[in-house]
């Protein structure tokens, strides 16, 4: 059992949780994730470690409630527990001094990119954060982002906050204005990562994406998380989750994320009591 020391709603769709896991809190590095199982009938599913506090022995997770598992977790209150928590899993994000680095994130990817931005700046880079959401209410961790990044750009699809448009519009402008970043990180929904990849390809800007393949064990034991990178099959959980964006077969990733659409729907309807 792993105790939740804080559960705080960020937006109508996202919840921040702090959970006791002293070893993971000490060891985790940017880009790593945990596998969670909320209760006895629950799935194992991955969440990025957004932050940690070794002194209190807690890790911070931010969960977007999209289906049964994430809703179960989102509804756990401060003081309650979850059954299983395993990590830190996956390779940490490789960080060096590159110069100017653009970190592009959409939706829940904003939480996932936060530790990467901190690591990038820690290595002496200038980190430009470009974050987006559908609408103002769904923007998360703005204060934390402002503090962590060298510069922060915000977009909303409906223009309710920041610039109207997509995160790729900002990246496009940067490139067109001649301030081409030395490296780009993109984390978020696949269409967004794909668009960023298409944008940086002609300029040969090294681009790293963090892939959110479906997972079960998270230790390389099942192959559920396999993705094609540069024509080779990789296991996201142990070979990634970060990969060279220009080598990733996004089409396959999108298809594989849809394997269980009907079952996910059935499960959620049952959970919500329809």
């Amino acid at each position: 059992m792993y105790r939740i020391t804080e559960s705080r709603r960020l937006t109508p769709e996202a919840v921040l949780l702090k959970i006791e896991a002293p070893r993971i809190a000490r060891k985790r590095k940017a880009g790593q994730f945990v596998i969670i199982r909320v209760d006895e009938t629950g799935e194992r599913f991955p969440l990025t470690i957004v932050d940690s506090d070794p002194s209190t022995g807690t890790i911070t997770l931010v969960v977007q409630e999209v289906g049964t598992s994430t809703k179960k977790l989102g509804r756990r209150r401060t003081g309650e527990s979850i059954l299983d928590l395993t990590g830190p899993l996956g390779h940490p994000t490789g960080v060096k001094k590159w110069g100017r680095v653009a970190c592009v994130a959409g939706g829940i990817g904003v939480a996932e990119v936060l530790p990467v931005i901190k690591a990038i700046r820690g290595a002496g880079n200038i980190a430009l954060a470009i974050i987006g959401a559908r609408t103002q209410d769904l923007i998360i961790l703005e204060d934390e982002m402002r503090e962590a990044a060298s510069e922060l750009y915000i977009t909303t699809d409906d223009g309710s906050y920041g610039r109207r448009g997509l995160v790729t519009d900002v990246l496009c402008d940067l490139i067109n204005n001649g301030s081409i970043p030395d490296r780009v990180f993109a984390i978020g929904p696949v269409p967004m990562m794909r668009a960023v990849t298409a944008l940086t390809r002609p300029y040969n800007i090294p681009t790293i994406v963090s892939l959110n393949a479906l997972m079960v064990d998270g230790t390389g034991m099942c192959g559920c998380c396999r993705v094609s990178v540069g024509g080779e099959t990789k296991f996201t959980c142990v070979d990634g989750p970060d990969f060279d964006a220009h080598q990733v077969d996004f089409e396959e990733l999108v298809q594989r994320q849809k394997i269980y659409l009907p079952q996910e729907k059935e499960s959620l309807q049952r959970y919500e009591g329809f």
Partner: protein, 461 residues
Amino acid sequence: MQIPRQHMAEQEPSERIRNFNEVPFGYTPEQAKKEAERCLQCKNAPCRDGCPVEVDIPAFIELIKKGDFSGAARKLKETNSLPAICGRVCPQEDQCEKVCVLGKKGEPVAIGTLERFAADWELKHHPGSPSPSSSRGARVAVIGAGPAGLTCAADLARMGYRVTIFEALHQPGGVLTYGIPEFRLPKEIVKREVENVRKMGVELKEDQVVGCTISPEELFRDGFRAIFIGTGAGLPRFMKIPGENLNGVYSANEYLTRVNLMKAYLFPQYDTPVIRGKKVFVIGGGNVAMDSARTALRLGAKEVRIIYRRTRKEAPARREEIHHAEEEGVVFKFLTLPVRYRGDEKGWITGMECLKMKLGEPDESGRRRPIPIEGSEFSIECDLVVVAIGNDPNPLLPRAVPGLKMGRKGTIEIDPATGQTSMKGIFAGGDIATGAATVIEAMGAGKAAARGINIYLKLSG
């Protein structure tokens, strides 16, 4: 007094393919006593040498004959910490029963079924029997709660050591829990056997991926004096043929883990889904392939075929498993090799192309090598494929111990007599050292390593 070998009653094939309950029911006490009477109580008891964990076979059989079922179970437990499991999944036909004197003329004593009977009796009537040792011995860390790790831990606890098992998954048991299906090895049995190991004073920590959560170096720093690595062979092999990442192509590990560990056969009560194919192909000829095929039937498949590149004779699965699969309606397609999968525009599997094979000269395994017949390509339709062509050792832990001497196939090199690796204080055994093998061999390796660790700790003071 010619008593015939006693057979367990079983669920009818037509009935059992609609549920996940265990197939055989086990002996009744009368049957067990009758079968025990067949044993000749040989002086030299060759059966005993056929057992990797050295069970005193005639002694426990004699106790069953006398009706002292509890005594028989205790006798088993002197050397075998998981008898209810071994009685179900061990290939006795290749071990104790293979060398049983009765087998020379007729049928050998049903040693495995007797073991199962006595162990089940004890679990049912005296579930709490083992007593925790209040030991103050040196601390030993065991990595992996599969049969190798559980056996090593239990034996060390018996010797007075303080043992902690670190297990990566949320449940102990290794393949016994995530791989072998409920209808062959009920998870309740595994749970109770593991519970007995716990009652011996062994501490079990789940959710600990050693190499990620904690490193072997840290274990030594935390006061563990020796480490046993029993992390198994959990890395699924793929064939590296086109279309292998299509939706509807599973590794056997994923398919079985979803169904067994995550209980996807009870979806939606359990949250983990699994694809229920109608026309399912399972690639491979081992126990894993049989388990996958029989699982597919129970998940409602109309047609299940096993595609194997050699013939029935070379198939490494237990005869009993092939027999069970056939009884249930699984169709075998021998001498067939898939070369590519076909999919639709949404990325779902629709079928595959195969080559016909013929057998050539024997290869290094002694089995005749399958050779493709030119121009024999043909195509078949399906909506689910399970790839069960074997597993390799998971490199995650060895990578975290850079000094460890590794074998050719990603196995850890050990001295089989002691389990000693190339590094001081680190021992290993089971599938991680041999490559995918059997439950009882893993247990034998755990036992040998427990002795090796004992000697090592005695010598190093």
